[in-house]
C-alpha cells in the first residue's frame, strides 16, 4: 500500500465507524443532519472538490460529478423527509472502497508483472587496473571483456572466453532446466549465471542486447490497444452522458406526466430518488479498468512463460487464429542434420559409422559433422590416408588399410558397385568397403520432439487448418507432414513463394492466420500474416523486429501455450464485458422501475468492479495452460 492508499483506508474506516455510531445517538432535526455531515465529508470531501473543479473545467460528466450529485441529492432528500442519511454516506463509502480496491489491485498486479520481468541487469563487471569494477552496462563497448560471477545476471550478449557454468534461462524462456555453457559458446543477456565465473567478450552493445530488446518490447506492449479496449473507451464516452440524461428525464418527466395528464400526485421525491440511483450506476469504471488490466495481466503472464506478445491487439488476434502455417526447417524440424538410420550388411553398425566418419573427416560439410557426431568418439585422423573428394559424388579414402568409398548413388555407379535403394527419405550415403557394398546411412533433418504433440494440441484448442511451407523436396516434406498430421503441404518454395502461398491462404478468409517461422529468411512472411510468430528468437534481431509474437525457445509446444494464453485472456475480457454491462443494464432497469434502491446501485457499481478486477487478474496465471 502506498501513502495515498493508507490515508484512504483510514478515511474509510473512520467514516464507517462514525456512521454506525450515529445510529445509536438519540438526536433529531438539524443536529442530526450536522452530525451525519461529519462522516459524509470525511469520506467524500475530495470527490466534492473534484466535482467542483470538473465543472469549472467544463468536464461535467465524470464520475466525481455523478457521485457528488447522487449523494448530495440523497442528503437533500433525507433532510426534506428527515429520513435516512446513511444511504448517502454509504454510497460514498462504497464508492471509495471500490476505488481503493481498484487502485490496490492494479498496484499489486503492476508489481507482480514487473517482478516477473525482472531481468534488467544493473551493472557489468569489468577489469580495470587488475581489479573488478562495476560499471553501467551502457558504458561497455563491443569486444570488451566482462566478468559474470555466480548468482549474477549476464548483462550483455557475448561469447564465453573462459570458464564454464550452467545458466538459468527461466526469465527468458520459462524453461526451468539450467543450460550449460563452455568457452566459445554464445550467451544471451538476461540469463542468470549459476555455478562458475564466466569471462565473456561482448558482441553487442547493451542497448542492442537481447535483454534490452525484450524489456523495450514488454514495456511498450500494451500501448497497442486491442479492439476490445477501443470498444470500451468508446462505450464509456457514450455511456456516462446517456445515463445522466436518462436520469434527468427520469426525475422530471414521469412526475410531469402524472400531474398534467393523469391528475395524480407528482411524487417528485420518489422519482428523484430513482434518478439518483441511476447516477450511482452510471460510472463505467468496472469496464474501463478491468479490460486493460486483463490484457496487461495476460501479456505479463505470457512473458513469464517465455511468450512475448508485442501488443494487446496481437493477443486478441492470436486468440482468433483458425489457420496455423508452419515453416518446416527450424520450426517443426530442428534444422540440424542427424543420422537417422543405418542400414548395414554384415558389418556392425558402429563400425560402418566409424568408417564413414573417418572417410568424411576432412570435410566441413554439415553431413560430415553429423556423421562424426553419431560416431560418438572423436575421430583419429591419422588412420585415414589418401582422401579423394569427388565433387557431387562423395569421397574415397584409405582407412586402416581398407579402401572405403562413401557417397551417393552416383558414386556407387561410378565405382560399378551394386547398391540398394533406400525407402527412407533424406540424404543417403552409400558405403563400399574394399569394393563390396556395405550398406547405407540415412541422414535427415530431425523432427522436433514435441512437434506432433503441438500440432495435435493446436487442433484440440480450435485451430481448424494446419499448413506446412518448405523449400525442401516434395518427398521429404510429404513424409514430415504425414508424420505430424499436417493438413496441407506446399514444398519446393522459394522465400517469395512462401509469401504468395500465405497470401493465397489469407484470401480464403477462414478466420485469422498465424505464421510460425524461425525468423531466418521469413521476415516478409512473418509480417504478411495476421499474426507472425517467431520461434527461438533468442539473439535473432530480425525475428524480434518482424514478428508480433516471439517465442523465447524453439519448443513447438510454446505455440500451443501462446494460443491458449491468448484464448484465456480474451475469454476473461469477454466475461468482464458481458458481466459488467449486463449487471449495469439490469440495475438501471430495476432502478427505473423503482425496485432497486441505492444500495443495490452501489453494488452494481462497486461490486461489479471488484469482481471484474479479480477476474482480470486471473489472466496472469498461465502456468498450467
Amino acid at each position: 500500500m502506498n501513502k495515498k492508499q493508507k490515508k484512504m483506508l483510514i478515511r474509510i474506516l473512520a467514516a464507517a465507524a462514525l456512521m454506525i455510531l450515529m445510529n445509536f445517538l438519540p438526536v433529531r432535526g438539524l443536529v442530526r443532519f450536522l452530525l451525519y455531515l461529519v462522516p459524509y465529508l470525511i469520506i467524500g470531501y475530495d470527490i466534492l472538490i473534484k466535482a467542483g473543479k470538473g465543472i469549472r473545467n467544463r468536464q461535467v460528466f465524470d464520475e466525481n460529478f455523478l457521485m457528488a450529485v447522487a449523494t448530495v441529492g440523497a442528503m437533500a432528500l433525507a433532510v426534506y423527509q428527515d429520513g435516512d442519511y446513511t444511504e448517502a454516506i454509504a454510497v460514498m463509502l462504497f464508492y471509495q472502497v471500490g476505488e481503493w480496491f481498484q487502485s490496490y489491485a492494479v498496484g499489486r498486479s503492476r508489481r507482480n508483472i514487473s517482478e516477473l520481468m525482472d531481468i534488467r541487469p544493473d551493472y557489468a563487471n569489468v577489469e580495470q587496473d587488475g581489479s573488478l569494477v562495476q560499471v553501467d552496462p551502457d558504458e561497455v563497448e563491443i569486444g570488451d571483456i566482462i566478468f559474470v560471477q555466480p548468482g549474477e545476471k549476464i548483462p550483455i550478449d557475448g561469447v564465453v572466453v573462459e570458464g564454464s557454468s550452467s545458466l538459468n534461462t527461466s526469465a527468458l524462456t520459462g524453461e526451468s532446466v539450467p543450460r550449460s555453457t563452455e568457452p566459445g559458446e554464445e550467451v544471451i543477456s538476461g540469463c542468470i549465471n549459476l555455478t562458475g565465473v564466466l569471462k565473456i567478450r561482448t558482441t553487442k552493445e547493451f542497448g542492442e542486447s537481447t535483454v534490452s530488446k525484450i524489456l523495450d518490447l514488454v514495456e511498450n506492449a500494451s500501448s497497442r490497444k486491442s479492439k476490445s479496449e477501443d470498444f470500451i473507451s468508446k462505450f464509456a464516452r457514450v455511456y456516462t452522458p446517456f445515463v445522466c440524461y436518462s436520469a434527468l428525464a427520469l426525475a422530471f418527466l414521469p412526475p410531469l406526466v402524472r400531474m398534467g395528464l393523469m391528475g395524480l400526485p407528482a411524487d417528485l421525491g420518489d422519482w428523484v430518488y430513482r434518478a439518483l440511483t441511476f447516477l450511482v450506476i452510471s460510472c463505467p469504471c468496472a469496464l474501463v479498468v478491468s479490460i486493460p488490466l486483463s490484457f496487461f495481466a495476460g501479456i505479463g503472464g505470457a512473458g513469464n512463460a517465455g511468450v512475448l506478445v508485442k501488443g494487446s491487439n496481437y493477443l486478441e488476434t492470436l486468440s482468433q487464429v483458425k489457420c496455423v502455417v508452419f515453416d518446416k526447417t527450424g520450426t517443426l524440424t530442428q534444422g540440424v542434420f542427424e543420422v537417422n538410420a543405418v542400414h548395414h550388411n554384415k558389418m556392425e553398425r558402429e563400425k560402418l559409422l566409424e568408417y564413414a566418419a573417418l572417410a568424411e573427416s576432412a570435410s566441413s560439410h554439415p553431413i560430415s559433422k553429423s556423421l562424426q557426431k553419431a560416431c560418438g568418439s572423436p575421430v583419429d585422423r591419422s588412420r585415414v590416408t589418401d582422401i579423394q573428394e569427388i565433387s557431387g559424388n562423395g569421397v574415397t579414402a584409405c582407412v586402416d588399410g581398407h579402401r572405403v568409398a562413401a557417397g551417393n548413388a552416383k558414386l556407387m555407379k561410378r565405382l560399378q558397385i551394386e547398391y540398394r535403394e533406400c525407402h527412407h527419405t533424406g540424404t543417403i550415403i552409400h558405403m563400399a568397403i574394399d569394393g563390396a557394398y556395405a550398406g547405407h546411412i540415412v541422414i535427415s533433418d530431425m523432427i522436433k520432439p514435441h512437434a506432433k504433440e503441438a500440432v495435435e494440441a493446436l487442433r484440440v484448442s480450435g485451430v481448424t487448418r494446419t499448413v506446412m511451407l518448405t523449400g525442401d523436396t516434395e518427398s521429404v516434406a510429404g513424409q514430415v507432414a504425414a508424420e505430424l498430421g499436417i493438413d496441407e503441404v506446399y514444398s519446393e518454395l522459394l522465400p517469395e513463394g512462401k509469401v504468395e502461398k500465405v497470401e493465397e491462404l489469407l484470401e480464403r478468409k477462414e478466420g485469422k492466420l498465424a505464421f510460425v517461422g524461425d525468423g531466418i529468411n521469413d521476415a516478409p512472411v512473418l509480417s504478411r500474416a495476421d499474426i507472425g510468430i517467431a520461434m527461438g528468437a533468442m539473439g535473432s534481431d530480425a525475428a524480434i523486429e518482424a514478428a508480433d509474437v516471439v517465442l523465447m525457445d524453439d519448443d513447438p509446444l510454446k505455440i500451443v501455450k501462446a494460443v491458449r494464453i491468448s484464448r484465456k485472456c480474451l475469454r476473461i475480457v469477454h466475461e468482464n464485458i458481458w458481466f459488467a454491462i449486463g449487471i449495469k443494464a439490469a440495475c438501471l432497469l430495476l432502478g427505473a422501475l423503482g425496485i432497486a434502491n441505492m444500495w443495490l446501485a452501489v453494488f452494481a457499481d462497486v461490486g461489479v468492479m471488484v469482481l471484474a478486477v479479480l477476474n482480470a487478474v486471473r489472466a496472469l496465471f498461465v502456468k498450467k495452460l
Partner: protein, 72 residues
Amino acid sequence: MKKTYKIDVDCANCANKMEDAARKTNGVKNATVNFMTLKMSVEFEDGQDPKAVMQEVRANCKKVEDDCEVFL
C-alpha cells in the same frame, strides 16, 4: 518524433481522458496512455519542440483530471 513520459493517475477512465486531452493538444500527432504501465507516449508533429508541446499537454491533462501528473 516519439517520446515516452512517466505519468501518475489513479483511475483507468482518467487515463483515457488524459489520452484524449493529449491528442487534442496542438503539435501532437498521436498519443497513447498506458494506464497499466503508467506511461504516456507522444508522437510530435514535425518541427515541434517537444518541451513546449509537453507543457501544453500537461496543462490540458490537468484540466480534464485534476489529480494527475505528467513527469517531464
